[in-house]
């Protein structure tokens, strides 16, 4: 392909994964989905005569600042697929379910990090996609502020985090045309609020005791492939 006018698509995906102990069996499925993601997305796009020129993925594994210390928030940089597939695989396979303290998690802080990712500016067209998996609701922002490693520059409130995400006519950190947020989590608490308020956000409600269904994984792929 030597075209000067070839419209290039660059897609960044930030996978935000709840790594607390309760995730257990679900985490294995999430990891399996994460690892097959590149191949599945590529196949789905090829079926529509489309292709991604550059795909980068980063992973954020989150737990609780107060209960899990330095393991509360683990971030990777973006990795290019398929070139860095072995590193990506090692990273994902290394996520172990543990800790978490009480039921809610510090998932809003994880979202804050995801929103502030160093998203690609390359390509003629881009998608900046955050996919979050959790089996529980978030704490209020700042719940873990007493932890020594709690980030001082984190959004101070849900208002501020919402402004980071942005809204129609109100700006935000991310490009409004490029951003997408897909959440697989219980339909309650902050997740319900985010689905009702944040643009370009889709919540796939998880049900207690049930795993990540194949239809949900397929819907997540649809949400990305059909919006490019």
């Amino acid at each position: 392909m030597g075209s000067n006018y070839g419209s290039t698509y660059h897609v960044d995906i930030c996978m935000v994964i709840d790594a607390t102990g309760s995730m257990g069996p679900l985490l294995n499925l999430v990891k399996s989905n994460a690892l097959s993601f590149y191949g599945d997305l590529k196949a789905r796009m090829a079926a529509k005569d489309k292709q991604v020129d550059k795909l980068r993925v980063r992973v954020i594994a989150f737990r609780d600042y107060l209960a899990d210390g330095k393991d509360a928030m683990l971030l990777s940089d973006f990795l290019e697929l398929p070139e860095q597939a072995p590193e990506f695989e090692a990273l994902v396979r290394g996520i172990q379910p543990k800790g978490g303290g009480d039921d809610p998690e510090d998932s809003l802080e994880a979202l804050g990090y995801a929103i502030k990712s160093k998203w690609t500016r390359g390509g003629d067209k881009r998608r900046h996609v955050i996919v979050l998996w959790s089996d529980d609701v978030p704490h209020d922002l700042g719940f873990g502020r007493a932890a020594p490693n709690y980030p001082s520059r984190m959004a101070k409130s849900f208002d501020e985090l919402t402004e980071w995400w942005g809204a129609t006519g109100l700006g935000g950190v991310m490009n409004p045309n490029d951003k997408r947020l897909l959440i697989y989590a219980p339909n309650k608490g902050y997740w319900n609020d985010i689905m009702g308020v944040w643009d370009n956000t889709l919540l796939f409600p998880s049900e207690a005791g049930k795993g990540l269904e194949e239809t949900t994984y397929s819907a997540i792929l649809d949400a990305i492939a059909n919006s490019i």
Binding site: M1, N4, T168, A219
Partner: protein
Amino acid sequence: MSTEINGYRLTRELSNENAGMCQWGFAEKDGHEYFIKQFLKPKYPGDDGKLSPALVQRMRDAAERAYQRRKTFYDRLRECRAGNNVVVEDYFRFGNFYYAVTDRVRGPYLSVEEIAALPEEKKRVLLRAILFSVTQFHEKGIVHSDLKPDNIMVRSTAAGYCTAKIIDFDSGYFSFDPPEEIIGDQVYFSPEALLHNMGRETAVTEKADIFALGLLFHLYWTGSLPGFDRQEHRYANEALLEGEPLELDSAIPGDVRAVLEQMLALDPAARPDARSAWEALAGDARLARTARFRSPTDDDL
């Protein structure tokens, strides 16, 4: 008990299946069947959430402004029912979300292969029927922006001909006010739409739809898109911008091929408008020009 949205009782729950960033389903109201789409942008914060009242108000004001702009578009679109345009019948907010409702279009639909296998005469009638529908909204300054096989529902009629309903105007816009990013299918994107999305200053008007129809009509006639070097270019728009002509199937009758060649011109100004193409496909080998009667203006005296 099924969900009810603003009086529309869902007969198929909302999902994003094959739809990307929206959710859709089927609904019933007053004995009539509808297609209902929930948009994921903008959203309207409620009173019971966790945001401050000040931010809620700012977000609501912005959402309502966006809604009003879109409503103007759908209101104008409703004037384009002639032909077979499936227009938005109802556009409203319910809770946090905005919804658009159209008539439900029922299958079975013909596949591209079935359309390509039709006798020439019937294909010609089908192409003209589509162009007639397109004329209705183009002459009101509306660009569909996402014309492709998925958005033109072709059915057989009892007489053995075809009807074609044009659906999904949700990526559409007024030609005088194109969006920052043109939304559509890359396969059917016009060269100027590609340039626009690459940040180049270029008008993307109704002629972008004409280009998409040129590709689509070739597909309908032959079962495949026009030829170009697919090792070098992924899409027809790229090939044209690189100076590589599209190769039209020689089995297409000369008069139809002449129209398609013009519809697929690199320069939007060289493409016919929908009405001219409709007239040209009536069987006249020459592409009809746009000389038509008009109403007098002050400049005529």
